[in-house]
């Protein structure tokens, strides 16, 4: 699906990756691991087209990303470590807006998705009065609505409780089962039911 070739990225005069290549196939979970500051978020931002600070090629279905940006963005769902949730809007309004931005989200089942993430009864509460974990859940509710084949998730489990993490892991397993793929960073020991996770350790990639 997604292919990275000869990626070179330097930040604050420190080389994060040199000659880094990665291929993400359909029905695969790739977990990016590494110390704090090893460039996990930077890598995901590059993959999303949210950073230009690199040289190398990124190919989507074999074609350079710059040429197929629109199709790529339709097929990709990104949850950053900032959730993109507006504090003054309610959970439902936030999801409505996310749907406007992302055509791959299923319009009919907002209420269902909020129920799935355990926010049933909180639809009409402005998000700033929800807890950090609940706000995170609002952002992650998109995963229940999404039909995009590629998910890029940056620290999706931050602030989630154990049950929440389990549910998300089950959701990822379901997504893989349907032929989708997931790239994520997390410090959590990932246990995807019925799937093996391919780890990419950035500490080994970096040039000392």
């Amino acid at each position: 699906m997604l292919e990275v070739k000869n990626l070179f990225c330097e930040r604050d005069e420190r080389v994060l990756f040199a000659d880094f290549s990665l291929q993400i196939n359909a029905a695969e979970v790739v977990q990016i691991i590494g110390q704090n500051g090893s460039g996990k978020t930077t890598l995901l931002r590059i993959l999303c087209g949210l950073s230009d600070a690199y040289t190398g090629n990124i190919l989507w279905q074999g074609i350079d990303l710059d040429e197929v940006r629109e199709e790529y963005y339709q097929a990709m769902l990104f949850v950053g470590h900032l959730a993109g949730v507006k504090g003054s809007l309610t959970a439902e309004e936030n999801l409505h807006w996310m749907m406007q931005l992302d055509k791959s989200l299923d319009k009919c089942s907002i209420a269902e998705a909020l129920k799935q993430v355990g926010l049933f009864g909180f639809e009409d509460v402005p998000c700033h009065s929800l807890s950090a974990g609940q706000q995170r859940r609002v952002g992650l509710a998109r995963l229940y609505l999404s039909s995009a084949p590629l998910w890029i998730l940056d620290e999706p489990f931050t602030a989630l409780d154990k049950k929440g993490v389990k549910e998300k892991e089950a959701l990822i397993a379901n997504h893989i089962h349907k032929g989708g793929s997931v790239i994520l960073t997390t410090h959590h020991d990932l246990m995807i039911p019925g799937q093996t996770v391919r780890p990419i350790n950035l500490d080994e990639v970096a040039v000392a």
Binding site: C48, G49, Y73, L82, V85, L101, D102
Partner: protein, 222 residues
């Protein structure tokens, strides 16, 4: 179009939930109008002479004051990233955001401007010129201000920089805007001035969205 309306609705809803954002530029505009005669001279002939310039400068600064926040909230909570990885057009989104900014700043200023004009003893025949010039001129201010806001959104302290970037672009609008009001107050024809303001608006409407979208991409990606 559907996306434009959705984006506009969202921004107006956000403003409605943070009412300070509306009140701030208006309060600034009114305060300048109230304090200026106190500080300089309450003489009606003097005030009516300077009315056009002072009202336009106050309106311009009120716009500048509020334009800094046009993308800041979205940048800070990650919404802007989501907008950039969306397959929807960034140009449409940017236009919706600028329109919502204009509705809460320039449009409201134009509506309350007769009140301020009254305090400045502006001759009554100048009122239509004042309202029309503000209605035609302030959208340009919002569009050009948004370019600066897009460029500085990634900086922690963009406030000063945005003024430096944007003020030179504001000057033609100020000159023709205040000129319209002055001509109107003296009973001279104002169509020429309005045509110029309109031309500047059309030009910036055609070009600014591209600049704003590019500025946002630069700010987020670098």
């Amino acid at each position: 179009m559907r996306f434009f309306i959705a984006a506009l609705k969202r921004d107006l809803l956000l403003v409605f939930r943070h009412r300070n954002d509306i009140i701030n530029p208006l309060a600034f505009f009114m305060m300048v109008a109230v304090l200026f005669p106190l500080g300089v001279s309450p003489d009606p002939t003097f005030l009516s002479e300077v009315a056009a310039g002072v009202i336009w400068v106050a309106a311009l600064l009120a716009c500048l004051l509020s334009v800094d926040g046009i993308f800041r909230g979205d940048y800070e909570d990650g919404s802007l990233e989501q907008m950039l990885v969306s397959s929807e057009s960034l140009l449409v989104l940017v236009l919706a955001k600028v329109l919502s900014h204009w509705l809460i700043s320039g449009f409201c200023l134009a509506i309350i401007s007769p009140l301020v004009a009254m305090m400045f003893f502006l001759p009554e025949q100048g009122y239509p010129a004042l309202i029309l010039s503000l209605l035609l001129g302030t959208p340009t201010l919002s569009l050009m201000g948004a370019i600066g806001a897009g460029l500085t959104v990634g900086l922690r302290k963009g406030g000063v920089l945005i003024s430096l970037l944007v003020l030179p672009l504001y000057i033609p609008v100020l000159i023709f805007g205040a000129g319209t009001v002055q001509a109107g107050a003296m009973g001279l024809p104002i169509q020429g001035y309005l045509a110029l303001l309109g031309a500047i608006l059309v030009l910036s409407l055609m070009l600014a969205p591209f600049a704003i979208a590019a500025a946002l991409k630069i700010s987020v990606r670098s």
